[in-house]
Each structure stands twice: as C-alpha cells, then as structure tokens.
C-alpha cells in the first residue's frame, strides 16, 4: 500500500479536468488514481473520491443527469454512505446533485453566458472536513468556468441548509445567478461536498492563486484519516 493516500478520480466520457485534478492532488500529497465510469468498484485503498469537471455525456438531458446513473456512481454512493469523503468539482457538483447525494440543482447561468474567470468566494462554514485548512470568513480566489452554475433549492430547503451550516462557500458578488450566491454546499453528514469553482486550477501562486490547494490538501488529510478509520 502506498504511503500517499489514494484519491480516486472518476472520469466520464466528456470529463476534461480529470488529469488536472490528478496533477493538483499529486502536488498536495495524494496518490491520484483514475477510475473509469464503467468500473463498478473503487480501488481498495481509496481514501477519498473526486468527481472532476467537464461535460460528462455532453451534458445531455441535464448536466450530470446521465453520469449520476453510471456504474461508478453506485460505488461512489456506497463509499459516501460509509462516510468516505467525496468532492465534486463543477460538473462533479452537478453530478452529485443529480445523484441526490447533495441538495439542490445547478441551472443555466442567469445571463446565459459562460463565465470563465477568477472568482472570490467567502468561507461561510469552516466546520467541515473540506474546509479545515480555512477559517470562517476567509476569502479565497479560485477560478470558475461554467455555463450552468446557478445553484437552486426551494426557499424552505435553502433556509434549512443555511441554518445547518451546509452552505460552505458563497461568491462575494453575483457570478451566475446562484441562489444566495452559493458556490459550494455539503451534505448533512458533512462528507460530500460540491463546488463550482475549480480548486485544481489554483494550486500554484505562479498561476494567480494557490487557494484551491487549501481545499485539496484538506481532502488529502481526510483521505488518510478515512483509510485509518476503515482499516
């Protein structure tokens, strides 16, 4: 068994940030392993899962809807149910919502424009394993690039999520019409998070920001702990 915690990255047809995620996770201490969407098991040593960005299945029907039914997602569902940490980035966030592992849904940006730029997000809740290297109120600069990133939930659900600390990141300005400027949400158990910004594109100051590395490094910590817990 490798000393670096294994993070499984599930690639679907149309994923395009799987290798960037692998590179970035490697840079913060993980042993990244790519898993194909048709695989119905994750590698035995998996300590965490990343669902990467892209346009799985060409965004047919609704973003993430087809991918949410892939064989690998059954394995991800079992891993999450056992407490394993799962991070969905961009299309991965859309997939987790469609798989009903996360609340809400991602809709077309209000202005119908593809946004591709650095976004500033504020940490609303640091009380999750994904944000343990950040502080509440801290502002992070992480790029976004999406056409369908307007998160939506009904009013009752939104109030409940906010009260429970499940709204993890908010944009500091209106980026895409997302309800409450929400950029990231976590499930009730706290081990599944989705976000529209791309932490894997922000791990080196040379490229503008290393703030994404804080999230990915926290995931790697959590992966190591999960392996110990199930060993």
């Amino acid at each position: 068994m490798s000393e670096r915690p294994v993070v499984a990255i599930v690639a679907f047809p149309g994923s395009n940030d799987d290798r960037d995620a692998a590179w970035a996770l490697g840079a913060v201490g993980a042993e990244p392993v790519l898993v194909w969407h048709e695989d119905d098991e994750l590698p035995d040593e998996t300590g965490a899962v990343v669902l990467p960005g892209g346009f799985s299945y060409g965004d047919y029907l609704r973003c993430g809807a087809i991918a949410s039914l892939a064989p690998a997602m059954d394995a991800v569902g079992r891993f999450a149910a056992a407490g394993g940490p799962v991070l969905g980035i961009c299309n991965g966030f859309q997939i987790l919502c469609e798989a009903r592992l996360l609340p809400g849904v991602l809709r077309p940006n209000r202005e119908l424009e593809f946004v591709c730029r650095d976004a500033t997000v504020r940490v609303e809740s640091a009380d999750t394993l994904f944000m343990r290297r950040c502080e509440e109120g801290q502002e992070l600069v992480i790029p976004v690039k999406h056409g369908e990133g307007a998160w939506y939930a009904d009013d009752g659900q939104f109030v409940q999520l906010a009260a429970r600390g499940q709204i993890v990141l908010r944009y500091t300005e209106d980026v895409n019409g997302s309800l409450g400027n929400v950029a990231a949400v976590v499930n009730e158990a706290g081990n599944v998070m989705g976000l529209m910004p791309h932490p894997e594109h922000a791990v080196d100051p040379l490229l503008g920001s290393a703030d994404g590395g804080l999230l990915l490094a926290a995931l790697v910590d959590a992966a190591a702990e999960h392996r110990l817990a199930v060993a």
């Binding site: 029907l61 469609e98 849904v105 809709r107 077309p108 202005e111 119908l112 939930a153 019409g177």
Partner: protein, 76 residues
Amino acid sequence: MLVRPKQGILDPQGEAVQGSLRKLGFDVSRVRVGRVLDVELAANGAEEAREQVERMCADLLANPLIESFEILLEEE
C-alpha cells in the same frame, strides 16, 4: 412527455427567445422553453404504459425541483 420549467422557476432560455421574438415584431409576453421526449415502449395497456413513463420522469427525465412533466399517450 413534455418537460417544462416549473412555474416560478426562472427560465433564462425562454427570456432570450422572448427577446428575439419581440425583435421580430411579435408582441410576446412570455416564453418558456422545455423539451419533448418521444418514447416507444411495449406495455399491457395505457395504464401500465403511464405508470412506467411516470417512473421514468421521476427517476431521470425530469428534475422535480425545477421541472414539471406531462404525459401524452398514443397507442400503436
């Protein structure tokens, strides 16, 4: 099946189409864009077909948070 954005859900695509129709001189007060799915299936009668299609909509074809659906059945 006709799948539509639910009442009260913002439909930016519909708004963009409405703007274009107005530009063409049509006095359109609202446009909503949904989608049509034609599904052929074998079933013992309309009741069973409807039951199957309802499950398809609930499980995959419509997201109940934001979309409503209507089923139109045709016998062959």
